[in-house]
Amino acid sequence: MAKIVIYTIFVIFLLSLSIVFPKIGASAPNFLFLFAVVYAFRKDDSDYLWLAFFSGLALDFYTNSFLGIFAISFLITAYIINYTTRTFFSSDLNPGYIGLIVMLAYLLVVGLVYFLNSLAVRFGAGLPVSGEYLTTKVWFDLFLNLIFALPIYFLSLLNDRLINYYSKDEGSF
């Protein structure tokens, strides 16, 4: 129970941070994406899947897109990261390597968001995500995400500490 509450508070906190964080042009770091990626990289249990899904869903609620687009995109990206870093590549901590993972993961998320959005627009009425942003926005987004990857990594460690602390308390009752 403590785990769910702490995860929820962190997701809402990062969502709020994304909302208040000043945008440079149209670019901003995607804190929830980084949180989901860091967990997919670090964790072996299925927690990271739930976290990726609900982080994406939180974004879905506050964006102008179809519900589920970010949730599915984050989920697929997290699963691919977790699977590949344990099957084909290493999951050792190395700043350059993590940077590469964050970069590829963000491009994958953007691709999935655009693909799912255009699919949804084709089947239903709604606004397509503006392609005009793609050329300039994404590269600067990538840069900002790389800068904030390390702070979010440390935030995930803090999150784990809190979960361990409160789970111990729960066990003693």
Partner: protein, 264 residues
Amino acid sequence: MRSKRQLGVFSLLIFLGLVLLILSINGLSKPLQSTGVQPSRPLVYVFSKAGNSLKSFFSYFSSVNSVNRKNAALSEQLRKLQQENVALQQYKLENEKLREELAFRQKTSLNLVSATVLGKDPTGFSQSLVLNIGKSSGIKVGAAVLSEGFLIGKIVSVDTFTSKVLLVTDPQSTIDAQISSTGDNGIVRGSYGSGMIIENLSQSALVNNNDRVMTAGLSAEIPRGLLIGNVGQLQSQKSDLLQRATVISGVDLKNLEFVSVIKE
């Protein structure tokens, strides 16, 4: 065993995501979206406020590093006063914005509903806002949203207690407009980087810097005569078939807190 469990959770969540997407495509996800936003709203509000305070705290903290230890007590006092000052400035700004909004509402004959901006699109993929009013306040899709008398966008989706606004600066936004001094018609479109452009103006149209750009009222939801902004720079060449120019809004669209929505 572990990977089988992960695959199971993954499949379950993908299924759930697809169900949400299908519901959303068919317009059936509104109650769910509304329910999803409601519980997080107070926490998002609190964290957003705390985030703003944190921002001002860190900017102050960096300056404290340069102060020597003897002045620590004074610095502490200064920090408190500055925080108090920031809070007061925020109240003042809030007050001014409310007064400006109220002044416009008293002048106009439009049927307006006041709203507070709950959030902005955090991803930056679209220029949109979430407002704290929805169907329960009589808000409908397509309704024009104003701030200090300027058109800032239109409602694109409505839940029971919240609604989403697509800002005039989003590239998806198009509004029929006219230059007030000459009556020449054009289309105001959002452009990358939070700007606006009026285009499709005929080559014979006289477009001058600072000319007022108003809504043309060609669509049913957006009445004629709402101020969109002023003409900035002319972007077209003499050889172009149609003219285009930048439009500068009279309000800061990045710092909106209170808006008004036109009710039918």
